[in-house]
């Protein structure tokens, strides 16, 4: 469950340390809730954890008061779950096989984690076109990275 909480944290907080903090907080809150008998149906534990993630992130965004209290109360994060790094030489080769538009769109999108609108404006393409190009390029990249042709 911890990797999923971390991914949720990365997605919504865009910060590795904050995501690691979220893992710690949510797991502790879940354990406390289970001890207190608040989680009666273990089959629904995933929904409970996701709901807790949403609540904690919302509170972090509201000013972080609860987060600060939790950070004081609980131990600092001890573990991260880094994604396995891709083979960069292979990735460079696969990016090189993309069409020019695909390469620019994919790199500028993921480098800056910009929305389609922002990249569209920068490259003179439409929002819809950017999404189509990005989806196609991602498919080619993944195929190439797994050993197929881009």
């Amino acid at each position: 469950m911890a990797p999923r909480i971390r991914l949720y944290g990365l997605r919504h907080l865009r910060d590795e340390q904050a995501a690691a903090d979220l893992v710690q907080q949510v797991l502790m809150m879940t354990i406390e809730s289970m001890r207190a008998g608040k989680v009666r149906d273990l089959a629904k534990i995933e929904s409970f954890v996701l709901g807790t993630c949403r609540m904690v992130v919302l509170e972090i965004r509201r000013g972080g008061a609860r987060r600060e209290r939790l950070l004081e109360q609980y131990l600092p994060p001890v573990s991260a779950f880094p994604e396995p790094a891709p083979d960069l030489d292979k990735l460079a080769e696969c990016l090189g096989r993309l069409a020019e538009r695909e390469r620019s769109v994919v790199v500028m999108t993921f480098y800056e984690e910009h929305s389609s609108d922002t990249v569209a404006g920068a490259l003179g393409l439409s929002h819809e076109n950017i999404r189509v190009i990005r989806h196609r390029a991602l498919g080619r990249l993944r195929k190439c990275m797994s050993g197929g042709a881009a």
Partner: protein, 186 residues
């Protein structure tokens, strides 16, 4: 056990980029929290994104870039060496150990142009490489190319001629020719 209803990687990328509607986003999260396979897929999308970021920071991706993109890299402390020869002109260039990116700025009037190719040629005009159908924003008066800095570092003295070409169904027209006289850094 594999997922019976896996989320498309493109949708996971949209999720990562915050481009889904709240309803779609909520559905993805509920699925992720109950699915190990799709969690791994999301991790691989994030890893791919991080790999792309690493390669971009290394300056080794030959690609069209924008001023906004270079400004972002500069804010992260990367140093870009830029050369901007006039159309029909030449510039002496090099790259040093302190440079992170090597940028060629090709000035041209792109008004009304639908497709642009960049031909990388030797001094005799023979094409070494062609970048087809590059992205460009109407109204700008230059194309910015990130040249792989690793290639430039390995290169001895060399002359590279870049040609901007407007391509139509009737053929192609030269928009500008730019000569880069490269010498290795001392």
């Amino acid at each position: 056990m594999s997922c019976a209803n896996p989320i498309d990687p493109a949708t996971l990328a949209d999720y990562w980029l915050a481009e889904l509607s709240p309803t779609e986003e909520s559905a993805v999260e509920e699925h992720i929290f109950s699915c190990e396979d799709c969690t791994r897929q999301l991790q691989s999308v994030i890893a791919l994104a991080e790999g792309i970021r690493t390669l971009a920071r290394q300056g080794n991706l030959g690609m069209v870039v924008t001023r906004e993109f270079l400004d972002r890299l500069a804010r992260e402390g990367l140093r870009a060496r830029e050369y901007a020869p006039q159309a029909g002109g030449a510039v002496a260039c090099t790259v040093t150990a302190q440079d992170d990116l090597l940028i060629g700025r090709l000035a041209a009037d792109l008004t009304g142009i639908e497709r642009v190719d960049v031909a990388l040629c030797d001094p005799s005009g023979a094409e070494r490489q062609r970048l087809q159908d590059i992205p460009f924003r109407a109204g700008l008066s230059e194309v910015m190319l990130n040249y792989p800095i690793g290639l430039a570092r390995q290169s001895g003295p060399d002359v590279l001629v870049m040609k901007l070409l407007a391509v139509t169904s009737q053929g192609e027209r030269l928009l500008g020719e730019y000569t880069f006289n490269h010498t290795p850094s001392a």
